[in-house]
């Protein structure tokens, strides 16, 4: 019964969105559905947090591989939530200096702001920056012109890598105006705007058709994987 209700709800929400897109007088119906989605999205944050805690508590209690990392996740999660909810280190707002808790949780100088600025921000930036090292290593070991396609990809990579920096200007800036289209920076732009754009358009159209087909399958109850339970 619950599953049938969920499927009916999915169909109604999906159908309303489709109808409201094509029939102007029903546009407000679509907005209402979108607003319900916003409410659900806000609730999903709470569910997501609860799920995160559950998964890591289970891993901790079963002492499965890597349980030590779960301890760090839970400690960081709990501490961040606590300082955010209690607004530790937050001063009242200028507009309401006598009202406790009137300041913003992530106001400059607060504990939440400190955790964001000095823990989350550098950690995530470092993770992203590490890519440069691994990409360099992978390029050395794996980027080989073993066939025509790989050779084409390699030449394209050279043009883009050099054309997106000052190296392009230094290496090909001497070319006369009549041959300026051969300058590396212009070739890089052409690759992006013509070849990559054409390929991406094809991919986008394919994705759009796939999304439409999948959406129909979900709305009509053919694809029920979103309900869980493996059926």
């Amino acid at each position: 019964m619950t599953r049938k209700f969920a499927m009916l709800l999915t169909f109604l929400a999906g159908a309303t969105m489709v109808v409201s897109y094509f029939i102007r007088p029903t546009q407000s119906w679509g907005e209402d559905v979108a607003e319900w989605f916003n409410v659900l999205a806000a609730i999903a944050f709470v569910l997501g947090a609860a799920n995160l805690a559950k998964v890591h508590l289970e891993r901790l209690s079963s002492r499965s591989a890597g349980w030590g990392y779960s301890v760090i996740v839970l400690l960081a999660f709990g501490a961040t939530m606590l300082v955010g909810l209690l607004k530790v280190g937050v001063h009242p707002q200028e507009l309401a200096p006598t009202v406790a808790f009137s300041g913003e949780k992530d106001a400059s100088g607060s504990a939440f702001w400190w955790a964001y600025s000095y823990a989350m921000s550098p950690i995530t930036s470092t993770m992203f920056a590490l890519l440069a090292f691994f990409v360099a290593s992978a390029a050395f070991r794996a980027f080989r012109a073993k066939n025509t396609e790989a050779a084409l990809l390699l030449v394209t990579a050279f043009v883009v890598l050099l054309g997106r920096t000052f190296a392009g200007v230094v290496l090909t800036g001497w070319m006369p105006e009549s041959l300026s289209f051969l300058r590396l920076e212009n070739l890089a732009t052409t690759i992006l705007e013509v070849f990559a754009s054409a390929g991406n358009r094809a991919i986008l159209i394919g994705i759009a058709i796939g999304v439409a087909a999948t959406s129909l399958k979900i709305m009509l109850g053919i694809d029920r994987s979103y309900l869980g339970g493996g059926s």
Binding site: E31, S108, M120, F128, A132, A136, F140, A157, T165, N200
Partner: protein, 302 residues
């Protein structure tokens, strides 16, 4: 073991060290000398700059900070340049984000650019921070027709009805220009799909400009220049745009001091140059090893 084999099996920590040096040395040199490479704007960047230049003073510009600290290396210089440009052009600045980790970045940008650089601008009258709204693309679907339904309060909790500059805002089409700085989902693509595209060809056509990461740029190019009037692609696009904004500010006020905090993207182009040169060198070396070994194997074969 031959020389080529030894080179092929080189400890990858040497590659890591080379990359570290290729990036660190230019950072240090630029920190000391303050010199940067000149930038020539590509058409996509020029389109973004011209779109904002074309707005008359007092126009309403919505800036959406759709990124997190992980991609701030590429997108923060864009955000700083967009806000500076808008403030220098006397536009009414509305800031928001669809990303939960973004509000501190947004707040920091406002403090660094507007509060410190334009103390004459008044909060609520010249600029407003609407903060984060959960819901991804459904937020965009709602603001298409009813902005207040998604943003009923600003970042400080003040009801938008009490904010003077929010009075004329009923829907997304009330903005003269929308800028999204996007690191992924939800971001540029959703702004194109739900905000720019439905209004195409109508009287309420929306001027959309974007700044995206290097990974996203090829995926977004198909939407330029119809749905998006301009696009900054990666740190290169940020450097080009920053250079244009600095030129514009210098042109309108020759005494203006362009501090290093407003040349972040241009300063990052030198580490990028040497990082890219190292990559090219490593790829060439890797291929030399590959073909050298293949030749050696073919020569030794009966």
């Amino acid at each position: 073991m031959s020389f080529l084999e030894r080179l092929d099996r080189i400890d990858r920590r040497w590659i890591f060290l080379s990359m570290g040096l290729a990036v660190a040395v230019p950072i240090i040199v630029i920190g000391i000398t303050g010199k940067t490479f000149p930038e020539v704007a590509t058409p996509t960047t020029r389109g973004a700059f011209d779109a904002i230049q074309s707005l008359p003073a007092g126009s309403r510009i919505l800036l959406s900070f759709d990124f997190d600290p992980a991609s701030a290396g590429e997108l923060q210089p864009m955000a700083t340049a967009f806000v500076r440009h808008a403030a220098a052009r006397d536009l009414d600045i509305y800031c928001m984000t669809l990303w939960a980790p973004a509000p501190p970045l947004l707040d920091e940008t406002i403090r660094k650019v507007i509060v410190a650089g334009h103390p004459d601008l008044v909060y609520g009258k010249d600029y407003v921070n609407l903060g984060f709204q959960a819901g991804n693309e459904s937020v965009l679907k709602v603001i298409c027709t009813d902005f207040r339904q998604s943003f009923s309060k600003d970042y400080r909790g003040t009801p938008v009805d009490q904010i003077p500059m929010m009075a004329p805002i009923k829907s997304a089409s009330d903005f003269d220009c929308i800028v999204t700085m996007s690191a992924g989902y939800p971001g540029c693509k959703e702004w194109v799909q739900y905000i720019a595209t439905p209004a195409l060809g109508s009287d309420d056509e929306i001027l959309l400009v974007s700044g995206v990461t290097g990974v996203q740029a090829p995926q977004m190019v198909p939407y330029w220049p119809r749905q998006m009037r301009g696009m900054l692609g990666a740190i290169k696009g940020a450097a080009e745009y920053e250079s244009l904004v600095n030129e514009f500010i210098k042109g309108s006020n020759p005494a203006a001091d362009i501090g290093p905090q407003f040349m972040e993207a241009q300063r990052r182009m030198a580490p990028q140059l040497f990082g890219h040169l190292l990559m090219v060198g490593l790829i060439i070396l890797g291929n030399c090893i590959h073909f050298g070994r293949r030749r050696a194997l073919a020569g030794g074969a009966p």
